[in-house]
Amino acid sequence: MATAQGASLDRKKLMADPIMVSTIVVLVVFLTLFIIYPLVILLVDSFIGDGGFTLDIIKGVLAKPAFKTAIVNTLIIGAVTGVLSTLIGLLFAYVEVYVRLKTRFLSGLFKVVSILPVVSPPFVLSLSMILLFGRSGIISKTLLGIQNSNIYGMRSIIIIQTMTFFPVCYMMLKGLLKNIDPSLEEAARDMGASRWKVFTSVTWPLLLPGIGNAFLVTVMESIADFANPMMIGGNVDTLATSIYLQITGNYDKQGAAAMAVVLLSITFIMFFVQKYILEAKATATLTGKASRQRMLITDRSVRVPLVILCAGVAIFVIAMYICVPYGSLIKTWGRDYTLTWKWYEKVFVNYRGGQAFTDSFLMALIASPLTALLSMIISYLVVKKRFALKGFIEFASMLAMAVPGTVLGVGFIRGYANGLFRTGALQFIYGTTAILIIVFIVRSLPTGTRSGISALRQIDKSIEESAYDMGANSFEVFMTVTLPLIKDSFLSGLVTAFVRSITAISAVILVVTPATLLITVQINEYANRGEFAVACAFSTILILITYAAVLGMNIFIKYFGTSKAQEED
């Protein structure tokens, strides 16, 4: 059959749209240079020796006992964190969707818990863990009188990561639970099943792929986490911290590249299982929209214990977050609890805090609109257009999600320190702020693209076709129809990119040069030196900035976002 004519006509129509063609070319070049190439160069580093292809480099790395321990540590931490986060997330989601919460206080608590990890820098919980349970911790020393309490180690990493990641599971599972048609469970109740039986025989099996999905996402996050193991791991190394230390301590960049490949292959396997097996299943089993409101559980015997459990966890998490600003206002933690501004003075007068905030802030400010626009363009092309390189663009931008920040950082060092393939080409961007901004963009692109894609899928294809049919070209359609319709998603993508950029550490800590000061890097440094009060002061200001950004976005959406009239539709 002569499909060739249709395909060639499609191609001709595409070429008749120069803006679109150049956009695609720019995107492909960007994604190739800054996502694909850094990963390729790591593979080259690990498998190409002086005499061509070799496995010796990888074998050498794997033979180191310290590295083997790091792999085992990472996997144990990942698995335990994954199980705990999923369970706590499920508990929260179940209570929110199934149990009648009488007070607004409780629903407010749930909301706070779901927002906190979004707006807070990655190592805040580690800091407060040290403040609460460390050598001069409020609980460990002041309350219990334990001297020399050792908080550092695997147990702390697991606790901190669980508290950091369970809200993500909670949000994912909440969405799934809401999509379960209540009549399925009512049918089971009607046949005589107890509530527990309904949960085990109906709700749980329906949810299982979604739970697997949440578990894997958490494991991936845990494995990729750099900041927390760095701050609270003590002498327990994970893959991410080993790679970092290999570069900053041993100056062994090729070894680090090989380690990065090991880490990358672990996250890749999980990513593909998650994306192509579980994600599809999770949504396939729950396609039916809930036909009507669910009868909420009001039995005291179910409600009271579940609510107490959730409230306990939530309050503990919030208390940990409060610890950090408190710690920044205290004279000497563990001894003298007089309020003082002296740490803030120190931050700005002695520790060049002003420059750190300006640098971080400006870079995030530049990166975030670029990220938001880029991710919306990618989503538009992926959802609404057909062209040859579409698969590549979609794949590359999603791939970035599976790449841990540390791996990307090593990839950028290996890929650009001596120019492209060590030829010196593009070497000039290495060590500049431009490359940091690019790192920010690459790190936030997948999240933005994913939310853009789901926003665009909601829009009836024929709305854009009608504009096209009226005589608008692709660019005009995008500017007058697509972008206004996904304004909210664009805006939230903008703020998410800003928050992620200003709180980022894992990749940039490897790429940053002493000329640029980043808040997160500063916090890491002062915490490692034991100057926790200064780290707290830095963190508090950072939390305030990110919170202000999120708050500003919500206010903006409320007044200038999709109008109320439109929402009623």
Partner: protein, 369 residues
């Protein structure tokens, strides 16, 4: 109103899709040849999946034909993108821009054509008058009923004065009564604007009511093209006869031909019919008999037994067995007619010119599509 009415010519056009389940290619449209005169109102009619929407989308430019060429006003348009084609489409879902008000929706195409504000205002006001929405310029689209939204969609398409207007099942989201009103309205506006229109629908009564010409499609193939009258009274095959209105099919053979008269042998009875060109004695044939063209009587052409008799108000609904064949008969205004009951023996009566003769025994029915 239109600058220039344009005809549409579709020459040997095919479109190939891949079956998502089996991964095999199949023809969504196969070798379609259609000639639409300027100013004509043409309906593409067929069951779902017959390729009618694909043809419409190929005219609009959203799909590219895999074989053949499409001409608009004599000009080959295969390589033009949708925004460069002189077509305007009215979508099934209306596809109004939700962030614009009515005026801006209708003015959208004019603004893209860089017209000055005064002209735009005049044109929009005039067209809103034509579709009966004057004074609604500042409403948002979600403040309108479905019928009103459809009028906006129509106004938006009309205002750019396209060479051809395309309709993709525009009324299928409306309720039954509004559908009838709107189709009359669309026909009126098309006549007033004097514009070529191609209209896709699976609703036969809509197609009958609205078109100058109907194109019946079946499994990607153009089955018959004709006026509503031709399609109804001279269906080309059993598929068309069954798809448009109700039909009884009586299978048999030609017993003899005399001039323009012929005798068909059905269930052992001799049935006088009009002769068909190229048919000779001994050939298999199928008679198409519309339920309203036949009567139940004490004497007549075919003996039968009544198996169902039901009073429906404006008609009496009969089902009778002629030999092994079930025949439906609709007796309109039955008040003063004799009513037959189940089990009665009677005759199916009809005039020779009221049956349409198809050659051959087989043919398609809607069921086996």
């Amino acid at each position: 109103m239109a600058k220039e009415k344009k005809g549409v010519r579709i020459e040997h056009v095919s479109k190939i899709y891949q079956d998502p389940k089996t991964g095999q290619d199949f023809y969504a449209v196969h070798d379609a040849n259609i000639d639409i005169e300027p100013g004509e109102f043409v309906c593409l009619l067929g069951p779902s999946g017959c390729g009618k929407t694909t043809i419409l989308r190929m005219i609009a430019g959203f799909e590219s034909p895999d074989e053949g060429e499409i001409y608009l006003g004599g000009e080959a348009i295969n390589e033009l993108t949708p925004n460069k084609r002189d077509t305007a489409m009215v979508f099934q879902s209306y596809a109004l821009l939700p962030h614009y008000n009515i005026f801006d929706n209708v003015a959208y195409g004019l603004k893209l054509r860089k017209m000055d504000e005064k002209t735009i205002k005049d044109k929009v006001t005039r067209i809103l008058g034509l579709v009966g929405l004057e004074g609604m310029e500042n409403r948002m689209t979600n403040q309108l009923s479905g019928g009103q939204q459809q009028r906006v969609a129509l106004a938006r398409a009309l205002v750019i004065e396209p060479g051809v207007l395309l309709f993709d099942e525009p009324l299928s989201n409306l309720d039954a009564k509004l559908r009838v009103d709107m189709r009359n309205e669309i026909r009126r506006i098309q006549q007033e604007a004097g514009i070529t229109a191609v209209y896709v629908t699976h609703d036969q009564s809509e197609a009958m009511a609205i078109s100058d010409k109907i194109i019946i499609m079946k499994k990607g193939v153009v089955d018959q093209i004709g006026t509503p009258h031709e399609i109804y009274y001279q269906p080309k095959d059993e598929f068309v006869a069954d798809f448009i209105g109700e039909s009884n099919f009586l299978h048999g053979s030609i017993a003899g031909i005399e001039g323009n008269r012929a005798i068909a042998s059905i269930e052992g009875c001799e049935v006088p019919v009009s002769a068909v060109e190229g048919m000779s004695a001994g050939d298999d044939c199928t008679l198409v008999l519309r339920p309203e063209a036949a009567l139940l009587a004490d004497t007549g052409v075919l003996p039968c037994t009544v198996v169902l008799s039901r009073f429906m108000g404006n008609y009496q609904n009969y089902q009778v067995m002629v030999g092994d064949t079930l025949v439906k008969i609709t007796d309109f205004n039955p008040k003063n007619h004799k009513i037959y009951e189940v089990g009665d023996r009677a005759f199916v009566d009809f005039k020779p010119e009221d049956v349409h003769v198809l050659s051959g025994e087989g043919g398609f029915t809607v069921e086996n599509i």
